[in-house]
Amino acid sequence: MDTFLSLTVSGLATAAIYAVAASGLVLTYTTTGTFNFAHGAIGMISAFLYWQLRFDWGWPTPVALVAVLLVAGPLFGMGLERVVMRRLEGTSEITRLVVTIALLLGLLGLSVFIWDPGVGRPMRNFFAGNVVEVGGIRIPWHQFVALAVAAAVAVGLRILLYRTRSGVAMRASVDNRTLAALNGARPERSAMLAWAIGCSLAALSGILIAPTLTLSAIPLTLLIINAYGAAVFGRLKSLPMTFVGALVLGLLNDYAIGYLTELPDDLEPYFRGFVAAIPAILLFVVLLVMPASRLGGVTRSREISVKPGWGGSLGLAAAVVIGTAMITPLLRTSDLVSIGRVWGLAIIGVSMVPLIGLCGQLSLCQLTFAAWGAIAYAHLQWDNPLALGWAALVAGAVGALVALPALRLKGIYVALATAAFAVLCDRWLFQFPPFSIGSHEFDLFQNGTLEVVRPRLPGVDFSGPKAYFLFASIVFALALLAVVAVRRSTFGERLIAIKEGPAAVATCGIDVNAAKVAVFALSAAIAGVGGAVLSGAEPANNSTFDFVAGLPVLMVMVIGGVASVGSAIATGIFLGSPLMSRIFPGFERWQNILVGFSGVGLGKNPNGFTADLRRPSTLVKRDPVVLVGMLVALLALWGMRTAELFTNGPYVVASLAVLLAAPIVAGRRAATAAPVTEAEETREAVDAARLAGAVDGRLSAPPELLGLTAPFQDTDVAVLDEVIDLVEIHDGGRGDRVRI
């Protein structure tokens, strides 16, 4: 009984901390419509800051608290609103969520940068050592502190939102921003206030929770993320329900800690990770019982998806394989160790294109799908490349399973559900000791790293490091082509339609649910293949595939343009190879900061930078002289490298320089080129001018009045062609280029 009571008290204290964290999240979400995924990271970095002031520099506790909670936290929140969030006006909820994920990554990188993770940083509880005895139970003071703080937050928020005009104005701008402004309210002030309070509450929860573990960036961030479950309990709207959710979460958590250790020895190992997974499980369950969201209407966004042509895609796939074949002999085996992950990661990247890019389902568990693929692949121990099919099958089945709950959800809830699934697998399922079903032994992560056999075909052995690297590039090229085929098919068009207007699609008699399950399964299957390929390249363990490891992959894809297959190559090279750290020494420390903060700038260009690469690549493709010249130059460099005239470093830099120079030269030439035929003259000049940036994509009149109020200009044709993405074809008969 005493155990039960003291677990209840400590559970209440845990609940109190979760309530503080979750209420900050709910406040910013309701007032600004942005789900701040970085809430946990803000709490984390605040805890570090508090440690710095209080324990490292020895400031008095109240001063340090004021500095973090009333100065740093609110300032950070207001800055965030002013610099980042305000510019995201008019972007989709998903884009805004991705920006906050980027922020999370950036803050993680920043904390590691400032506070070396190798150093231990103990943090003491408030009033450590002081204990009260109530009815035979010993209660530490810090548990009272947590409860008192949560109560104060609850009362404070209630007063703010219902008893002050600023608070009422905040609620009013949630209801109707425009109307609030017509009432003289300044909605951006309400948003700023909400961000300031939200960040301050995140900081408060970070400081309260940090003493329960040694200060460490990722665990602390994830610990605060647990509170998201409580927020979803209140449907991200209701603060009272959020507190109830926190209560359930906190009590479950502490009872589980208390009672699971009493399980019999043969069961206990299976529940070792269970406690850590409770918030994820609760989140999953809450999302399951939540009323299904209705299909949304048409959403207009600034995000576009360009249909890739077969010619270019085959060229790209061939370039990947041929390029790899050319480069591999130049690499030392030691290089291959550091570069081996490129294609595995690229495959996982390309798996995001149909699901996230086309269908708009923000999955945060692609690496978990990859893990299931890798596990299946390792379990099979078959040295035939077809074993990858098995990996795809298993991962695809897992994907379909995850899709089932996701069908009922939309927007950020899909992201939360998939994140919960990822965490559930990381912390619990993948920690399982070996077990058997029937007579068959299963050993998921084999207590460490996965043992994979590399593929072998009659006459071709891919098991050497160089051969395997080439093999991986072939698999990536195939995955890329598969995704292009999907994008070009009716199914691909449907996926885009679902992203843009699910309700409209449903009324056309298309089964939205079936399409969603299919795309989840497809994407998971590709990710599974990626996981298998990755685990063949380097020893993979649980942390290779964990939730946080998946965030940079998603971010680089999004920064590159998650609807385009090209960004998968960028993802693989950027995250899987030492290219960047060779060019910029010490890059690893900067990687997450860089990725994170470039993602934060996404609001400006939601289509990613590969969209900007279309013009240069079109320029080069159109100019045979430059195209051939570029290829010859690349070959020549390769020849010189093979002849050992220089080392890999200069070779890479020189090749990049050639790739960069080609479009610039082509642009110059196009701008000054003589027209080929009379008919083409104006078109060519216009294209060249446009590509050279002379025409900035503006029509000379509103589209509905084009040709009515003023003559139809050639620039208008060019701009409209580009907007609707017309393909240029050659008319065989006259040799004229026409557009259809």
Partner: protein, 236 residues
């Protein structure tokens, strides 16, 4: 004397689509101007420009002789421009009282606002602590108009006050608007149903396809409209 509100060759667009193609009009202090026109003519867009929600792409918006292109909506509201937007202009998840609290932005106390609002619409008093979203359509519109009667604006912009309401309620609302007009508040009233607006107006304009198609006294406009509906020449 400079007019209270003046638009000079105002063009306005949604993204690249221009909706207003050069509007000129003026409202003097204490004057009531009725703006009529078919669906999609650009009446709401015109009010959006005046209230600051939409910045004109060309031309000038002048209030009291000052050019105010691009001024923030909230600043215009604080300066005495009151807009009752199309549809129900209330915060559905706030109580009636809280809705009224939001109307104190011109420096009035909560009590003054409530007194004025309940004076005009006693029905609202009984429903003080009810969520505005649960009020009937007519009551919601009364609550919206309460902003006009309690904030003492210099210029009132009304967009389709009568939309979806029973004639009795429309009468009650227009009676309140009439009292404001009598007290000297300048009003720009947009209506599909011309009669109620014309009865109140000192001057009227017809907008069609983003341009002023006709302008004149209420009687002239009434005549012009009648001839249009009877298939005669479009008003010049």
């Amino acid at each position: 004397m400079t007019p209270l509100l003046e638009l000079r060759d105002v063009h306005a667009a949604y993204d690249a689509i221009e909706v207003l193609h050069g509007i000129d009009l003026a409202v003097d202090r204490g004057e009531v101007l009725a703006v009529l026109g078919p669906n999609g003519a650009g009446k709401t867009t015109l009010l959006r420009v005046v209230s600051g929600e939409l910045v004109p792409t060309r031309g000038d918006l002048l209030v009291g002789g000052r050019r105010l292109n691009g001024a923030a909506m909230s600043d215009l509201a604080r300066a005495g421009l009151c807009t009752i937007p199309e549809g129900r202009g209330v915060f559905p998840n706030l109580t009636v009282q809280e809705n009224l609290w939001m109307m104190t932005h011109r420096g009035l106390s909560r009590r003054d606002v409530e007194e004025a609002a309940f004076g005009y619409f006693p029905r609202l008093q009984e429903r003080q602590s009810q969520l505005a979203g649960t009020l009937s359509g007519g009551e919601q519109q009364m609550l919206a108009v309460a902003r006009a009667v309690s904030t003492r604006p210099a210029l009132l912009l009304l967009d389709e006050l009568s939309m979806g309401l029973a004639p009795i309620i429309v009468g009650e609302l227009f009676a309140a608007v009439g009292r404001l007009a009598a007290e000297g508040v300048a009003i720009l009233v947009v209506e599909q149903f011309a009669d109620a607006a014309l009865a109140l107006a000192d001057h009227a304009v017809v907008i069609a396809q983003g341009r002023i198609a006709a302008s004149g006294t209420p009687t002239e406009i009434k005549e012009a409209l009648r001839s249009t509906y009877l298939g005669a020449d479009t008003p010049a």
